[in-house]
Symmetry: C2
Subunit: 604 residues, 2 copies
């Protein structure tokens, strides 16, 4: 094993869970009644230990060793086997899943923020358990009883791996074009012959688990073109007999793996199904309902992407702040004749660290809030509360997927810059974080796809009222803070940002009506970013108020006092330095510029 | 050799040189009187050929093979030897240098934009010739006659390599802390014994050239602390006898190389000088004048950094636009029922390509203009013109160093995004561009160091008049365009941006006076970015006017017509989509936020 660089301070995570979101309220839900907040706290401590002792030390060597391919087989980095063993044996893999199938039943908000730690310690490794449980959940939700009995527990407990097989060489973002076909097989009406090639399949082949359960999008012969004719199939790498024993190999062949910018330890495979006509798949649910089902998994995966980006960014921040405390170099700008000081005192280093800190904390709280809504939507006894939570989840999911992936890429750049030349070298992990995070803005639907989901579906939901209510909530919130002694300037900026974000949405309605359609996709990613930054500033200010309240009850110089004071400054930094990006995008939006469309194509 | 992905369309480069800058005016200078614009055009065509045939095909294999270290020796990628041979034999290495020493004497503006091509084809390789000529020029300018005779021609013609040895383990940005020492050697008063360790020395050891001439910053025993006690020494890897023949090895030992995020083919070395007490160096110029001399080279190198960032970004744009023309996927947002189309027609892809195109072209023109000033400053017969050009060079150099390196990193991200999953894979070169470019914001002085140079020295030059004149020039320019039928909106945005940028400078004076010093380094990188974007928007609009004028004289559908129409739209895109970033930074600046300083250090 290599050096561990994972070193998360969990104070902010616990603040989000216990002080900001007050997740003890969840303990009144039937599903969570056997937990206590002390349990959650202990579980976090244990997870941190696993990150430091097991996942963290394998991150760099996983990157250096990478995956290797030979004659259909893939070897993952040697140390990943031990990671899997520890994660499986201690119940971490299915920590949020249904206890009926071997899961630990943790609330989504706890499990999701544990995932920040795990992915922040080793994203490449975490793709393997991540896909196993995502897959298992889909079978749990939509599978026949015999499917559930055969597969689900095996996936939640780390016996088998899983994959999502959507992409094909000619069907990436355009999923509706998949050409993999399914033909009814003689005998069992739920069993089909599968034939086709899938590309960019994460964890498509590996030597960690004895079996891999692929979920494959394919078109039943004669089905409609486009997304309406797509069905979903359970395709085990090795056929599973009705008694649960492994049968024969199922004609799934890995044709090769990709060499990539990052996540070298995660295999990215081309899979050939049924090259010899012997690949069998079990239809999951009704024929032609594949896309809808895949979307359930996709929505979870999209939230997972936000968590991945958060995890890497937070780890980059950790590396940068620790380095900055230790590295001594040059005097301050404000005291040129003073001696050499640790660079954490240098003004610009401090600005970059604050960028990282405030960005990370804002993303963590936004994601935490969404995860809390997931628990509410699932278990709150009040119908209305469940429905409202569901609406917020829908609205926020595209933000959570896209924004942290792009913003995290920028923030990790700052972490490299804090380390200077050392940051460009591979001894420290920041350059790896920069490489690893790039995939997050691409897989599970690019940032642009998310922005179209937001503009095309989400902001119009319930006649636009969900979005309008959100804007209104911020207007009311900022109205109350207008004269606040600490946050007056911040609330004014937030008010203006919410106005600007609201204006985008109004204008989009107008553009739809007037047929000026191209103005929408030309600006939709920027709208998404404005929305995300406004939402985060709101959440940051909410946290600032909590921190101020708590600060009044502790010593300013105590560990808690320092944390709360830090939080208050971090809130200000976010509102005054990151939130104003909204105004640049809004000014740009107001130009209604179509030069990108007007330019002759040959001019590119 | 590998696959060539370099495929620059030189139309914009020629537009900048011949239509925007009208470099035929340079031909009146005595130094350039033997050139014609046709010569320049042919030279560019030849350089493109070298890029496509020689440098381009070695870029990816240089990355994959990297440099290897064994017992003090470094092997560079095998194919780099052939690159060097071609570059040396055809006079490309010293193409801008003094013909008296074997250079080709090209104008800086031509040579600099050739360097865009070369670095865009293979940045890692270009570090070797780049350091050789930079080094040679320093010896040409400051060396004794015997030094010039011994070294300069060998470096301009590619016989020997060179390095700049500044950084030490404890002296990075804080160059004044170097501890390498020089002790007078018995005998020749210009020869010193050198002893010390240098780190991060680019091209510090390699197996391309038979000798390497290091320029080493060291402190003569007893000299002052800080930058005032630093001298510069010529330290050949192998001693050079007075007759030019190679003598004995000079006790310079490479202790190892770094593993890095990018530029794997460029060796980054730790060099131990005088481990055995036998390292000799020749004092270059006066004792204790090392920093000033190194700054001459550094200023050239800083402009070189802008060119490197431009070269990589332009190449990333080339890859993205070509891929987008070939890749077919999904319908348009504005025509959902239409068929699948090449993604270059997709609105968001087009927006990203325009980001890349307008950003690249703005950087190219800004750098071209600076390079033109270099030719003026050196050779214009008019004293006043030379002085003004020199002032503009001083003012713009920090922008050229910092802005393209950071902006290019963002733009290359867009290029990856255009390619989607493929962009994250190593088959196409975009992920390599993303890794290679990151070093540019760090070496030769970080972006923050540049911003301090700008704020601390440059905007105050000549009582602030150089900067004020620049603001005034834009005010006048935009005044003339207020009612322009094409660029009215753009000129209004530019006017506001120039106002905002001017306000930063005014405020800085106020902060200096009021002792509110920390507000300066907290915002200086953002000021630099505002300045750069305002300068580029100005230059883009100037180009837009030229293009419009030229368009009136050609067929709209001709190749030139398409180019000029493309340029006009590109100018609009820049002003309406990139320039507005100034307003976000300005809003942030107006908050006068000190949260990054106010936060307790332990809160990080």
């Amino acid at each position: 094993m290599g050096i561990n660089y994972f070193n998360r301070d969990d104070r902010d995570l616990k603040f989000v869970l216990f002080e900001y979101l007050e997740i003890d309220k969840l303990l009144t839900y039937e599903a969570y009644k056997d937990f206590s907040t002390e349990d959650f706290s202990m579980i976090i401590d244990e997870a941190l230990k696993v990150c430091r002792d097991v996942l963290g030390p394998t991150m760099q060597d996983g990157d250096r060793e990478g995956c290797t391919y030979k004659e259909g087989e893939v070897k993952v980095p040697e140390s990943f086997h031990q990671c899997w063993k520890v994660m499986a044996e201690n119940g971490w893999i299915g920590n949020s899943n249904n206890p009926e199938f071997g899961g630990q039943g943790l609330p989504a908000v706890v499990s999701g923020l544990l995932a920040e730690l795990f992915t922040g310690a080793n994203l490449a490794f975490m793709t393997y358990p991540g896909l196993a449980v995502g897959n298992g959940r889909l079978i749990e939700n939509f599978g026949a009883d015999e499917d559930k009995a055969l597969f689900v527990e095996k996936m939640y407990t780390g016996v088998w791996g899983g994959t999502m097989c959507l992409t094909e060489p000619d069907a990436g973002s355009d999923v509706g074009s998949v050409r993999t076909k399914a033909v009814p097989d003689s005998g069992d009406p739920r069993v089909y012959k599968i034939e086709g090639t899938k590309q960019f399949i994460t964890c498509g082949e590996q030597d960690i688990t004895e079996n891999i359960i692929h979920l494959v999008l394919a078109r039943i012969e004669g089905a409609l073109e486009g997304t309406k004719g797509i069905s979903l199939f359970i395709v085990p790498k090795i056929w599973v007999n009705p008694d649960g024993s492994l049968g024969e190999s199922n004609d799934v062949y890995c044709g090769g793996i990709e060499h990539k910018m990052g996540i070298h330890g995660s295999s990215t495979c081309t899979l050939n199904f049924g090259e010899n006509g012997n690949c069998r798949g079990i239809l999951l649910g009704e024929p032609n309902s594949g896309m809808a089902k895949m979307f359930q998994m996709m929505n979870e995966a999209r939230i997972g992407c936000g968590i991945q980006a958060l995890g890497l960014t937070a780890s980059a921040y950790d590396t940068a702040r620790q380095y900055a405390k230790e590295r001594i170099q040059g005097p301050l700008f404000t005291n040129r004749d003073g001696g050499r000081v640790p660079i954490i005192q240098h003004e610009d280093v401090r600005r970059m660290l604050m960028n990282l800190k405030s960005g990370t904390e804002a993303m963590r709280a936004m994601i935490g809030k969404l995860l809390y809504f997931i628990d509410m939507a699932q278990f709150d006894p009040d119908d209305n509360a469940r429905e409202q939570a569901e609406q917020r989840i829908e609205l926020l999911t595209p933000l959570i997927k896209a924004y942290p992936s792009d913003f995290g890429y920028l923030l990790i750049r700052d972490a490299i810059q804090v380390l200077g030349g050392v940051g460009f070298c591979s001894e420290f992990p920041v350059e790896q974080y920069a490489r690893d995070i790039k995939i997050v803005s691409i897989w599970e639907g690019t940032s642009y796809i998310q922005s179209l989901d937001l503009v095309g579906r989400k902001i119009g939901a319930k006649g636009g009222s969900v979005f309008r209510d959100w804007v209104q909530e911020i207007m009311t919130f900022t109205g109350d803070l207008k004269e606040d002694e600490d946050f007056s300037a911040d609330s004014k900026l937030l008010f203006k940002a919410a106005q600007a974000t609201g204006e985008f949405a109004m204008k989009y309605m107008q553009y739809f009506q007037e047929g000026r359609l191209s103005l929408i996709p030309l600006s939709s990613t920027r709208f998404l970013e404005c929305f995300a930054e406004t939402a985060m500033a709101h959440i940051m200010l909410e946290q600032g108020l909590v921190a101020r309240e708590k600060l009044s009850g502790v010593e300013a110089g105590s560990a808690d006092g320092i944390f709360y004071r830090g939080k208050i400054e971090t809130v200000k930094f976010f509102c005054r330095n990151i939130l104003p990006n909204v105004f640049a995008r809004h000014t740009s939006f107001q130009q209604e510029d179509t030069s990108a469309i007007d330019i002759p194509e040959q001019a590119f």
